[in-house]
Symmetry: C2
Subunit: 187 residues, 2 copies
DNA sequence: ACAATAGTGTCTTTAAGACATTATGCG
DNA sequence: CGCATAATGTCTTAAAGACACTATTGT
């Protein structure tokens, strides 16, 4: 799983990496503002596969321009969206971000980790339509922090509604090829 | 468990029952604002036994004065705080509240229900320092919506760290007296 | 005695976790 | 072959749920 950041073109924190964010317009819905933030990194509405609200941060000194609240939202987007204005990075490669954005990431990870393999929609958004068992292990590891037992993870995958194992396998270097899992098409 | 509401003295929704809320001051921390809201119904800081943040609501028409965000917080307070400026009501007796406050209550209940018997601090805040098995059944029923199996609930209670059954019993009408459970004193 | 409420004990199911064994690719 | 990675199967444990049975009160 990759995290989207972008390099801020203006002050404050000009030139630094940050999570995409916008100032809320008067009367604007949070979801709309979230879409504006995504558009800044080149993601359109149709590429969003799942989203939700995290907590609202209130640290008064988080923005040098003055006290602000920050209502944090998250979204999982298509792979096809990855070639645009964002810098995508693995969770363990995230350096120091602008504002208090590292704190936001710290809160996001366990939230998604708690939903992985439990909430079907979120899980599907995170895995993509097809994925290998190795992908699943990597996803689990990056969100939960430790490597799962592959046998137990296979059992978990097999029990997820809408997810089935295909007959395909994928070879990526030495070792037994990985099975490919695929989500059922949505009606 | 009882929910605290108060009758609004001013417009909008003057005379109607509402959850206690305040407008956030510039640069004020959310927790401080929450304390101001509690003070409106006569609850002081020392009476708060547990608290947390819910979601942030953004419905632009929720306040006739104009578009606002509402960052919702919850707090569990001492029984001793109940005789003040608030109107305390059971969850199933809550009528129509001002603004979109019914929506807030709807979101709060499952949140607390998910924490009941799992998060020790919250559970302790909700039960109070001592309580009967009947109280536990009532609490479970009001938060989770259906009556628990008393045997299984007893087993759950017995496994909670810091909670022990006393030798006391309490009689409240016909039927076998209820056992009294008590939390260990905090160090 | 009987109704009402509470507590005890047992059985089943399910989910998780641990781990040994087997399978299939690469060099 | 030896190494690396993946899949299968088994065993154990913990948590939940269902439910029969016993216990203690008021009327």
């Amino acid at each position: 799983m990759l995290l989207a950041t972008y390099r801020r073109p203006v002050d404050p924190f000009s030139g630094r990496l940050a999570l995409p964010g916008v100032l809320l317009l008067r009367g604007e819905r949070l979801q709309k503002a979230g879409q504006r933030a995504l558009r800044k990194i080149g993601v359109t509405r149709g590429q969003v596969r799942g989203s939700g609200q995290l907590v609202t941060f209130d640290e008064p000194n988080r923005d040098p321009r003055g006290p602000t609240l920050s209502v944090t939202l998250w979204a999982v987007v298509d792979d096809s969206a990855q070639a645009r204005h964002a810098k995508w990075m693995a969770l363990d490669e995230v350096g120091r971000l602008a504002f208090d954005h590292n704190r936001i990431v710290e809160r996001l990870i366990p939230r998604l980790g708690g939903l992985l393999w439990r909430d079907t929609d979120i899980t599907r958004a995170l895995t993509g339509e097809t994925f290998t068992a190795g992908d699943a292990v990597a996803l689990h590891t990056s969100l939960l922090g430790e490597e799962p037992d592959r046998g137990n993870l296979n059992r978990t995958l097999a029990s997820l509604p809408g997810l089935t194992r295909t007959s395909q396998t994928v070879v990526r270097g030495p070792g037994r090829p990985s099975a490919v899992w695929s989500w059922a098409k949505t009606a």
